[in-house]
Symmetry: C2
Subunit: 244 residues, 2 copies
């Protein structure tokens, strides 16, 4: 049986989604270990987005193949009880055998939150980049507009040894101000490693006047990571949801 479910997590204390041999503190690792503890079955949990260390998820989607058929409510409740209180699953359902959380995904929605107000918000400190300075949002919007559509995003890829195609499609980047925070919503078919954090860092440099919005096409064309801006910190990023 192919079990699919929504998973939300506070990524603060984790080394990211992907299971690693050197640490137990990954989201995938916690999901697989607790699943084995309650069912006795070893299953590989596949996530739609392999979020970086410190990145959060509101609506990550994942699936796992298990031989046995379980009562969905009982399995979900037992799994939630076994999980640490910063990881939670819901919407557990049987999916088609060929469903794959990553390959079947049509669109992913990520959100990056930047605190632009001078006042710290102690309750949001784990979920924002605490910049504390005003940004030229209009210039950032102009810069972002050059990135929508299909492009080679090599300049915005954090993995310097990446050999496959870096062509990706961004359907929308929207910026809005709310409660002292600048919220940047990214929607696209898929994103390269660190891509949203590098785009965010580049947009912030535009918002600070260090780069011009009109430089964006040249940055894309260069296909050179050093032409883009710096990588924004992970804690401001959250995977909001995945569309199938």
């Amino acid at each position: 049986m192919n079990y699919g479910f929504i998973v939300s997590y506070d990524g603060s204390r984790y080394e990211g989604w992907q299971r690693q041999t050197r640490t137990k503190d990954t989201i995938q690792g916690k999901l697989e270990d607790t699943l084995e503890r309650i069912t006795g079955a070893k299953g590989q949990v596949i996530g739609a987005g392999r979020t970086d260390a410190g990145v959060h998820a509101l609506g990550q989607y994942a699936n796992v193949h298990l031989q046995e058929e379980y009562d969905l409510k009982m399995l979900q409740d037992a799994w939630n009880r076994a999980l640490p209180d910063d990881i939670s699953i819901h919407g557990l359902a049987i999916r088609d055998e060929r469903f794959h959380s990553r390959f079947s995904a049509v669109e992913k929605h990520y959100r990056y939150c930047i605190r632009v107000g001078a006042e710290k918000n102690v309750f949001r400190r784990r979920y924002v980049w605490q910049l504390g300075e005003a940004l030229d949002v209009e210039a950032m919007r102009r810069g972002a507009a050059f990135l929508t559509g299909t492009h080679d995003f090599t300049s915005f890829c954090g993995n310097r040894h990446f050999k496959k195609s870096a062509v990706r499609s961004i359907s929308d980047i929207s910026l809005s101000l709310s409660g002292g925070e600048l919220i940047i919503d990214y929607r696209g078919s898929g994103f390269l490693q660190n891509m949203i954090r590098i785009i965010t860092g580049t947009l912030v440099e535009i918002g600070e006047g260090k780069k011009k919005a009109e430089q964006m096409p040249a940055i894309l064309e260069a296909k050179d990571r050093s032409e883009a801006g710096f990588t924004a910190p992970p804690q401001g990023l959250v995977l909001v949801d995945v569309v199938y």
Copy 2:
């Protein structure tokens, strides 16, 4: 000079507002120690509400008398830099010499958040009581209505050795449902130790059908802590603001 300021804090890792000799982890202690570090001056920081261990504040108000006159913006910025990132101050201003954060307060607004939805919200876990069951909110409203006005709240006082008058005035208790949480807003001139948490625990017992709303007058009249409900956990409570 008498300096007044708003202070917000995530109370999760603190032993409450009030300075104690056996621990350094109090809000008052952190404020006083950092103030001494940046100015060299020892001052007693007086807070409007002496919040319990684990209770948060969005708009606690505090004041401190210091001999010297400082530039307000410079002092506020230096103090914020010295404070841990779960405590933040703003609105630093010179107050009348006789102003006292606690005695001058006219009204305090506290909010208690209970997660009633079955789904855990991992991002709210430090700021809600994760109850996860539906409550009879109408019955809770009827019970709460008996508590507004001026009463002897001995039955709702967590300090069994309290010798002074337990007469307090609650101007309003309002309950609302939002995003899977039941929000209870309390406004009053002052509250006894644990009083809001005991009222909340009692209201929840009414919402669960374990007590009847109509028992509330008898609970008040008994002037006996054991007649009221249990003490709701601290993390759901936040001091929202103080009116002068």
